[in-house]
Symmetry: C2
Subunit: 186 residues, 2 copies
DNA sequence: TACCGTAGCCAACGAGCGTTGGCAAACAAC
DNA sequence: GTTGTTTGCCAACGCTCGTTGGCTACGGTA
């Protein structure tokens, strides 16, 4: 459909640099000039291809959680599977850390984050919890525990949270997530 | 010991304005000029009394969690008590929200947050968990769940997390925290 | 070869930032 | 009443930011 442009490589380089900068510095401190320097091009190119800083952020924060289909596996393992998946997703690259960082300081970032979780985590929970109308609430509980661990481990870097192995985290958080998804409402 | 200065009212006004700005805007977007405007004085006064922006932030983020003595109450209620206490503390003012916001984008903020939790949450957990050498780890797990809920509810404002009543949150998170503190290590 | 859209860089703009130094008024000490 | 200290404001500094407009050079097309 869209043809290949000569500038595609540049666009991709900008996007990659932007993701890294937003992730490590947050929205305000991630400057267009620094992103352009990382990408090896002129700051004005960023403006040409993405309009302005907000547009660049919007393009850089398209996120896929790649959640597994929970309905296809044993009901009693979904907590551990979900936690494992998120930990892997979080360690694979720093896009999620970036989204978290930006979501905290930037209104557009927070909305993006709401959308990602509503659209990608919501449906997954709807299939496994006993009361489908409570699914959003249960998804929010799961998000609170998973985002909280990511916050403690990857952003705030609380030493005990950093030192724990992923297995250990799964062993502790798995049952929590499992309960939030499948237990009867308290 | 220190005598009362005529400028104490000004100092206090600056501090209050700084706390609000840091809380709502984060470290970078909270400008000294805006804080001074809120406090009704000149920006240069902020520099005179607090040295620079970092000094102002350090002074504005002295935080007391006011945690209760967990040893004094029934062991099986400490999870609910802790969650209740944090929710109240969080809703009372926006200092904690601010600390969270700044801790995410600012290195000094993250360190301040590490210190607050290590110094104030750590000791409380040490008395109630079965293996005192694992106390920091358990405290980090508790922090991950409580900070995660604060993140979802007060910062990102995920709609389902905002809509839940505090009782409901306590009913869900209480057992989680209880388990992190008192259950045998998995 | 002549042409035209695209890709890229350079230089500059206006604005906002943290921060500084000096000056005027209010107060305190003698 | 004079002197020294505190409190406050004003004006400016150097810097970085996002953003703009114009210029050169390249690549495909006729």
């Amino acid at each position: 459909m869209t043809t290949v442009r000569r500038s595609d490589a540049t666009r991709a380089a900008i996007l990659e640099a932007a993701r890294e900068r937003f992730a490590s510095d947050g929205y305000e401190r991630a400057t267009i000039r620094a992103i352009a320097r990382d990408a090896g091009i002129d700051p004005s190119m960023v403006m040409r291809y993405y309009g302005n800083k907000e547009g660049l952020f919007a393009a850089a924060s398209e996120i896929e959680l790649d959640l597994p289909e929970l309905g296809l596996l044993p009901a009693r393992h979904i907590g551990a599977v979900l936690v494992t998946h998120f930990l892997e997703r979080w360690e694979r690259d720093d896009v999620l850390t970036g989204m978290l960082r930006v979501g905290v300081t930037n209104e557009a970032g927070a909305e993006r984050m709401q959308a990602v979780f509503a659209r990608q985590l919501g449906p997954v929970t709807r299939g496994v919890c006993p009361d489908p109308d409570q699914a959003p609430r249960r998804a929010a509980l799961v998000a609170s525990q998973i985002l909280g661990m990511a916050l403690a481990r990857y952003v705030l870097r609380l030493p005990p949270a950093v030192e724990m192995s992923t297995d250990e985290i799964v062993a502790w958080l798995g049952p929590t997530v499992q309960r939030y998804l499948t237990a009867e409402a308290p």
